[in-house]
């Protein structure tokens, strides 16, 4: 097995539209090794989120294949891909995506509970302490500020010890100062835990913190920087 944790080969996505077929991604190749951090940038509609969805196994490519942690996603069913996600993947979203019905602590415990971790609570408490929210354990998402919600989401993303962390515009809904704190946290944790990070962003400064960067235009890769 190679050291590559995430490989995309000739990845294409075509969707039907009113004007006929619309190609969102054109034969994209990509290879990430453990500990890498990759920023995907591009204007709206360039195909960034589509690429993220394909890499994370949330969607199926029209052509090509993604190998995530040794699993060729194209050969797996939706439920098998869900299992791969549960074991190897963490997510941070622009809109936080916390479950309103669970407290901060419960939200962080959730992926570990689903996996049947014995000491989910202790680890969740430790993670929330790490993101400086140990005083907000029993608060519900509605009672937290945007920055606090995103910190809970980051704690949750790292909870199940993922190999790859996908972040979709993690600072997109936050003001500059809060956004900066969140991105610091994200990179610190990424380094501490040795996770591979795939980040979609508009924010050039955030993108520059990654060791690799790709720029998409109309579904084509125009720049690949290392």
């Amino acid at each position: 097995m190679s050291a590559s944790i995430l490989v995309a080969q000739n990845l294409s996505k075509v969707v039907p539209s009113a004007e006929g077929e619309l190609t969102i991604l054109h034969g994209l190749d990509l290879e990430l090794e453990k500990g890498d951090s990759l920023a995907i940038i591009g204007s709206s509609g360039s195909g960034k989120s589509t690429l993220l969805g394909l890499l994370a196994g949330l969607d199926q490519p029209s052509e090509g294949n993604v190998v995530l942690a040794g699993h060729a996603l194209a050969t797996l069913s939706e439920d098998e891909r869900a299992r791969v996600r549960a074991e190897h993947v963490g997510f941070v979203f622009q809109s936080f995506q916390l479950l309103d019905s669970l407290t901060a602590l419960e939200n962080v415990m959730l992926p570990m509970e689903l996996e049947g971790h014995k000491n989910a609570r202790n680890r969740a408490e430790a993670l929330l302490k790490r993101v400086s929210l140990d005083h907000r354990l029993t608060h519900y998402p509605r009672q937290l500020s945007g920055g606090e919600q995103q910190r809970v989401a980051i704690a949750r993303a790292f909870a199940a010890d993922p190999k790859v962390l996908f972040a979709d515009e993690p600072t997109g809904n936050l003001d500059t100062a809060t956004g900066a704190r969140i991105s610091d946290l994200l990179f610190e944790l990424n380094t501490e835990l040795g996770t591979t990070l795939v980040l979609v962003t508009h924010d050039e400064r955030l993108a520059q913190r990654c060791n690799r960067l790709i720029r998409l235009e109309s579904g084509r890769l125009v720049t690949l920087e290392s």
Binding site: L58, R85, L114
Partner: protein, 834 residues
């Protein structure tokens, strides 16, 4: 197999559910289920308990294993045949008679019983109204046991005496239970039980009196069967054999209608609650699309996501059903209480079945209405976490409507136990919903063009209604029907008897006198004429049964269950007269005069009955009168005004038709109020005559009608509550949109007052439309009922115009409460959340 252990899903499901319950998210779904279960459980218990009461009493029902019943006493040889089989025998004789107290008279139902009565079951009685019940025994000669309600009516107490005809009896006990009266369930007149040995001394029973004789028999099945076989050949036309099965059937059909009505009312509640369940389950699912996508993203499989949410709904369903069962169980006690007096006093518990069936109703409703939206939750693509515009493929509409209809059908079938009725209701309901809903839709759209230049609040409010026209039409329809049912019941209860009485001339007869003996006829007439200047003539009465129509058995000619069929299965009161009674109009043929002479005597038949008997002018009718067959030819058909409280007859014969048959006389007269003393005198003077006070009977009818309508209104409360859940479910499903719209308007600078006015307009319009629908429906139905059923002149009811106002006020209030969050949430927050 799921990858995640069930216990973990259960844990997660229950925690999420608890949180959502606390946040009030599931309130509507919960209440809709509680109402569906409570109403079907209440009616289920009511029905089951009544049925059990009937089964329990099946053998006691007759007071024996077999009864020979007739309007004349059984022949000696019929009795000897039974005794020869070694059967036990008891005799009862029942008739109505007036019991006179010091100041008042009371029509009572007298029953004289022999020593071995009853053969099955036992009498129960007490010494005072609060005393403890004693089982067994029966009044010895000289004694009477009376029902408690007779005592206050005549200002009597145990130990006092009453006169039954010419015999004075001492009241020794209060009768509390009579096994063979279970079937009557309710009787207008109080019972007086006496010993058969005292009967001749009363002199009440004279040839021609209306009396019911019953010979009760008990013994081994074989002997009973042999006796039954021997009797069947020798029955007179006025005799009938009854066994417990017959009694039960008879009782069953009477109760059947009541139960069916209540079943239908509860069905309406379940139906509306089902709609509310469907609406709120849909919202439940939509609100969870994001969470479901996230969980899928975190690694939950489609199946696991589905199980997670199904578990939540199942838990909610079980808790709501349990509470519904409890409420339903309590509600049926209230129902029995409201109908106390109309139903037997002691009723079995009903067991656990209705509770389980009620729960089943709730769970089937939940499954039928909530599963399709729930299934969509399992199909939410995980990619939705990145693209919130992605929605699950909606279930095919035939699946959604199919499951809902199937669930409804199952519930309806269980509640009505009638497949044809269920299918008819489902089909009719669907068509009515489509037609009325379409009309409402057109009406609402018409309003839009009318209101094009109306103030902003009106346009916004109407716009909100028209954004969801189907939901608006559905809600207006649901509320319209509820208001209609309630208004109709209120109107009929209050009005029918009043209107009926109002349209009678003030001096309409208020007493009927029957069983007047020929020897007392002139004296009676003289006394009545002193009391009442315009007393009606005394008509002779002969009891007889129509046996042949044109020499064919009457039962072969008439259609079963028709009016004619019923008329051929009982003795009719026949009379003769040379004058056409007032209020009668000849519609065919001619009234006889002195010169009319044919081979056969003429008979004038009431027109409606003639139609049902399929007879016309010139047809031959044969009657059995006290064992003799008398033939007559139809010479005229008449319409009769049945509401004028005069003696009215189906059959009037030409004078001279009957000779040597037992005759009594019948009349009606008006006695001004305050003449109770005179009536007491009259009753004492003519003990065999039966005086029927019409006012008192109407009063009793009114009170029974009152009781029944209260019970019906009580069941309708469930329907109203279910309708409310539909309204709230509808409000909830549009709440997010309203919150956004409200925030936007406020951000654009509108005041809260405008938002409140907009809501008020929207819901008041919805309510007013429902009210209008209800008022119109109510007028149409009453007009039809009055014309076709009650034969009374119809007048519009202006107060029904209050219904749109009531509907507007009710729904505007509920609507404002249901959407108050849309007024209080900060506009900034909403706009930020996008």
């Amino acid at each position: 197999m799921t990858r995640i252990p069930f216990s973990r899903l259960w844990h997660l499901a229950s925690r999420q559910l608890m949180r959502e319950v606390r946040a009030g998210e599931l309130r509507v779904l919960f209440f809709a289920l509680v109402i569906a279960v409570a109403s079907s459980c209440a009616i289920g218990y009511f029905t089951a308990r009544l049925n059990e009461a009937m089964v329990l009493r099946a053998t006691e029902f007759l007071g024996g294993d077999l009864a020979l019943r007739g309007t004349s006493a059984a022949h000696q040889k019929q009795i000897e045949a039974g005794l020869a089989q070694g059967l036990k025998h008891a005799q009862t004789v029942e008739f109505s008679s007036v019991i006179a107290g010091e100041q008042a008279i009371q029509l009572s139902s007298i029953k004289a019983v022999g020593e071995s009565y009853p053969l099955r079951g036992q009498l129960k009685s007490t010494l005072s109204s609060q005393g403890s019940e004693t089982v067994g025994g029966l009044p010895v000669p000289g004694e009477a046991w009376v029902e408690a309600r007779l005592l206050p009516a005549l200002d009597l107490k145990v130990g006092d005496t009453i006169d039954v005809g010419r015999k004075t009896l001492r009241i020794t006990r209060i009768l509390t239970y009579e096994p063979d009266r279970a079937g009557d369930f309710y009787s207008l007149t109080p019972r007086v039980l006496m010993n058969i040995a005292d009967l001749p001394a009363t002199e009440v029973i004279q040839p021609g009196s209306r009396v019911r004789y019953r010979d009760l028999w008990s013994g081994g099945a074989d002997q009973l069967e042999r006796y039954r076989a021997s009797l069947e050949g020798s029955l007179d036309v006025n005799q009938r054999i009854e066994d417990p099965r017959d009694g039960n059937r008879q009782l069953g059909s009477a109760l059947d209608r009541a139960q069916r009505y209540l079943g239908l009312a509860s069905l309406a509640a379940v139906l509306l609650a089902g709609v509310a369940v469907a609406m709120s389950a849909n919202r439940f699912a939509i609100k969870r699309f994001d969470a479901s996508a996230l969980l899928r993203c975190l690694g939950l499989s489609r199946r696991e996501a589905l199980i997670l949410y199904s578990l939540q709904l199942a838990m909610l369903g079980l808790v709501a059903s349990a509470i519904g069962v409890l409420l339903g169980w309590l509600a049926q006690f209230l129902l029995f209480h409201l109908m106390a007096g109309l139903l037997p006093a002691t009723i079995p518990s009903g067991g656990l079945f209705p509770a389980f069936a009620g729960m089943g109703t709730g769970l089937v409703a939940l499954a039928g209405f909530a599963l399709p939206p729930l299934a969509a939750l399992g199909r939410v693509p995980p990619l939705r976490v990145l693209r919130s515009d992605l929605l699950p493929v909606p279930p095919r509409s035939w699946v959604v409507y199919g499951t809902a209809l199937l669930a409804l059908g199952l519930i309806m079938w269980r509640l009505s136990l009638d497949l044809k009725l269920t299918l008819a209701l489902l089909g009719g309901g669907l068509i009515a919903t489509i037609v009325l809903g379409g009309l409402m839709l057109l009406g609402l759209k018409g309003l839009r063009s009318m209101l094009a230049s109306a103030p902003l609040a009106w346009r916004l409010g109407l716009g909100q209604l028209l954004r969801h026209p189907l939901a608006a039409a559905g809600q207006a329809l649901a509320f319209g029907l509820i208001l209609l049912a309630m208004a109709l019941i209120a109107l009929l209860r209050g009005e029918i008897l009043d209107r009926w009485q109002e349209q009678l001339p003030p001096d309409s007869p208020n007493y009927f006198a029957l069983n007047i003996l020929p020897a007392e006829r002139d004296a009676f007439a003289a006394q009545i004429n002193q009391l009442s200047p315009n007393a009606k003539p005394l008509y002779p009465i002969v009891q007889g049964r129509l046996v042949l129509i044109n020499d064919e058995p009457a039962s072969d000619v008439v259609e079963s269950e028709s009016r004619g069929d019923r008329a051929t299965r009982r003795d009719l009161s026949l009379t003769w007269s040379d004058m056409l009674p007032s209020g009668n109009v000849i519609t065919a043929g001619q009234w006889w005069d002195a010169t009319s002479a044919h081979d056969l005597p003429g008979v004038s038949v009431e027109a409606e009955l003639a139609k049902s008997l399929k007879v016309g002018i010139g047809d031959h009718l044969s009657f059995n009168i006290a064992g003799r067959v008398i033939e007559a030819q139809v010479s005229s058909l008449r319409t009769v005004d049945w509401n004028n409280f005069q003696p009215n007859f189906f059959m009037i014969f030409q004078p001279g038709t009957f000779t040597d048959v037992p005759v009594t006389y019948l009349t009606s007269f008006y006695i001004p109020p305050g003449n109770d003393r005179a009536m007491v005198e009259l009753a004492r003077h003519f003990p065999a005559a039966t005086l029927l006070p019409i006012d008192a009977i109407l009063e009793q009818l009114r009170s029974i009608l009152g009781q029944v309508t209260i019970a019906v209104e009580f069941v309708l409360l469930f329907v109203l509550a279910a309708g409310m859940t539909v309204l709230f479910a509808g409000l909830q499903s549009t709440l997010d949109e309203r919150i956004r719209q409200g925030a936007l308007l406020r951000a654009l600078g509108s005041e809260r007052q405008l938002l409140i006015r907009t809501r008020r307009v929207e819901f008041a319009l919805l309510g007013a439309t429902s009210g209008l629908l209800a008022a119109l429906g109510c007028e149409i139905i009453t007009a039809l009922l009055y014309r076709l059923v009650f034969d009374m002149p119809w007048q519009p009811h202006p107060w029904l115009l209050l219904l749109p106002l009531i509907g507007a006020a009710m729904i505007a209030a509920a609507g404002l409460i249901g959407t108050r969050r849309a007024l209080t949430v900060s506009p900034l927050r909403i706009l930020r959340e996008g």
